[in-house]
């Protein structure tokens, strides 16, 4: 078996479909400019439509057009939201496939780095078991909220970060950045469970969050260990994590702002070895790229355009039928 695989080599059964990663990557790199955001997303429109066809996200596209992603990402998930049910399923599905990729990433770290220290292998092996339980937990939770496996496309963007051939970079990207993001999202899901009285959700995610903090700690410890005599490599690992964090800040969706869709789990992250300085940096990072206001204005324009297009098409179809 070879060392190092590409995200498109992740094996899935026939229930799954894949999503193009370009959109998420490009989004975080856009300037804070409504027209640019609209222009880019409109360009992706046909691709997005193609991707969601036949999936549970198709109704979302029908209603909002190519901007539906912005709406689900940038509006906090509230129980009384009209589309809360679909969006909850979308989020649970996203977490579920994320856990699969975390499992695969931890496993690949065992195979890709045969000369790594034994303690590193022990940590990764333990993570394999933890992530396997998380996959099982979220498959149940997805079912619990009425969702099914494969109902939304899977982005393999998370696994991208597990493809670094330097173990320091890999744990920086996967364990510190992605697992850190998981902590933020899970803290938010626990709150959701509390708000809606969903005790099953609250308790299950509470346990998963405890595991994730352990994984972030693995990351914090191993980045230090792998780079201890090599300040250049440490800098590179930090930069890699920042880059990953930036891509995952979803154009400000995850940030320290009060109205962020996914707030940073500040206290949890401190427990797991993030310094105040790193957290401040993360919070500033999350606020780079297009602001939430820009995203929402872009979304508003695009939803309007989408509805105009649909109305025009319907009118033309009716006229054609009348001839």
């Amino acid at each position: 078996m070879k060392r190092f695989i590409e995200p498109n080599e992740l094996a899935r059964d026939s229930r799954f479909i894949r999503q193009d990663n370009n959109q998420a990557t490009t989004l975080a790199l856009l300037p804070d400019d409504v027209d640019k955001v609209v222009e880019m997303l409109e360009a992706f429109g046909p691709t997005i439509e193609q991707q969601v066809k036949g999936t549970a996200a198709e109704p979302l596209f029908d209603a909002y057009g190519p901007a539906f992603g912005l709406i689900t990402l940038n509006q906090p998930l509230r129980p009384d939201d009209d589309a809360a049910d679909t969006r909850l399923k979308l989020r649970m599905h996203g977490i579920f496939v994320g856990e699969i990729q975390a499992l695969e990433g931890a496993g690949r770290s065992l195979w890709d780095f045969p000369d790594a220290p034994w303690e590193f292998k022990m940590n990764m092996a333990r993570q394999c078991w933890d992530e396997a339980r998380h996959v099982q937990t979220y498959e149940k939770l997805l079912e619990h909220v009425g969702g099914t496996v494969g109902m939304f496309p899977e982005s393999t963007f998370l696994f991208d970060c597990a493809c670094s051939d330097d173990p320091a970079m890999r744990v920086a990207g996967v364990n510190r950045s992605l697992e850190g993001l998981a902590c933020d999202v899970f803290r938010d899901m626990i709150k959701w469970g509390e708000k809606t009285g969903d005790e099953v959700m609250r308790q299950a995610v509470d346990y998963v969050l405890a595991d994730e903090l352990t994984h972030v700690r693995f990351g914090s410890d191993w980045v230090k260990e792998f780079t201890k005599d090599d300040p250049e490599r440490y800098k590179k690992a930090q930069e890699f994590r920042r880059q990953t964090d930036k891509q995952f800040s979803f154009g400000g969706a995850r940030s320290a702002r009060e109205d962020a869709a996914i707030p940073i789990a500040w206290e949890d992250r401190k427990d797991a070895g993030f310094t105040e300085e790193e957290l401040q940096d993360l919070s500033d990072l999350g606020s780079e790229g297009p602001s939430r206001e820009t995203m929402m204005e872009a979304a508003r324009i695009m939803v309007e355009r989408h509805r105009e297009r649909r109305a025009k098409a319907a009118k033309e179809a009716a006229a054609g039928a009348g001839k």
């Binding site: 078996m1 699969i100 990433g105 931890a106 496993g107 034994w118 078991w129 933890d130 396997a132 996959v135």
Partner: protein, 223 residues
């Protein structure tokens, strides 16, 4: 209540041998001295370490969801087994640094491990699992049990304790793996793939003398 210096000053407690309660029929002397046991423990560690690393690599390339999640726990238990073997080595006069030593008994066994870990395509789950759960793990159970039978059960008891625990877990792994394989091999063609894989790997294993390099053709574990 403590004995004094002369015969007339003994206590009144009944004299029992160290093996009387409960009756213990173990006898001193086994087939392996300290050095031989240390060598074998390094061999065991090699097998467990490489096996769990390979299963880690496969998580990404098996499409069957229950296989992905089922392997997660087996990887962790394999790592713990390797860890326990490693911790035994300094106790066997190998030095404190020996905790990380994994050594193949010979090149033949290293080659066998290469063969077991070779499949990577997503349509090769049968070959991946048959190598581990039909061949390697059952072989390890045999080898571990052989060591427990043949070593000095009194002086080498710490090794026996580790093996006892690892065998218990490994038997559960084998039961799981075979149940999965039985389910995956639902056509004659697939059953044939499994059979072929088992027979090829068993031949390689037999040729190199197994995990410790000294398990001959007559050993029941290799038939």
């Amino acid at each position: 209540m403590y004995p004094g210096l002369g015969r007339d000053e003994t206590t009144t407690f009944e004299p029992y041998s160290a093996f009387d309660i409960p009756a213990d029929l173990r006898e001193l002397h086994g087939r392996y001295d300290v050095e031989a046991t240390a060598r074998r423990v390094r061999n065991f560690r090699y097998a467990e370490e490489w096996m769990m690393m390979a299963m880690g690599g496969w998580l990404a390339t098996v499409p069957e969801m229950p296989v992905k999640t089922g392997l997660g726990k087996i990887i962790w238990e394999g790592a713990k087994a390797a860890d326990e073997f490693g911790k035994r080595l300094p106790e066997l006069r190998c030095g404190r640094k020996a905790v990380n030593e994994s050594v193949a008994s010979n090149e033949g066994f290293a080659g066998f491990i290469q063969d077991v870990t070779e499949p990577e395509r997503p349509d090769l789950t049968i070959e991946k699992l048959a190598g581990v759960f039909d061949v390697l793990k059952p072989h390890l159970v045999e080898a571990y049990q052989k060591h427990m039978r043949e070593t000095d059960a009194i002086t080498d008891a710490p090794t026996v304790e580790i093996l006892d625990e690892v065998v218990r877990k490994t038997e559960r792994h084998i039961a799981w793996g075979r149940e999965v394989l039985d389910r995956l091999c639902d056509t004659d063609a697939k059953r044939e793939r499994r059979r072929k894989r088992v027979s090829e790997l068993t031949a390689t294993l037999r040729a190199c003398g197994g995990v410790t390099g000294d398990i001959g053709d007559r050993d029941p574990g290799l038939h």
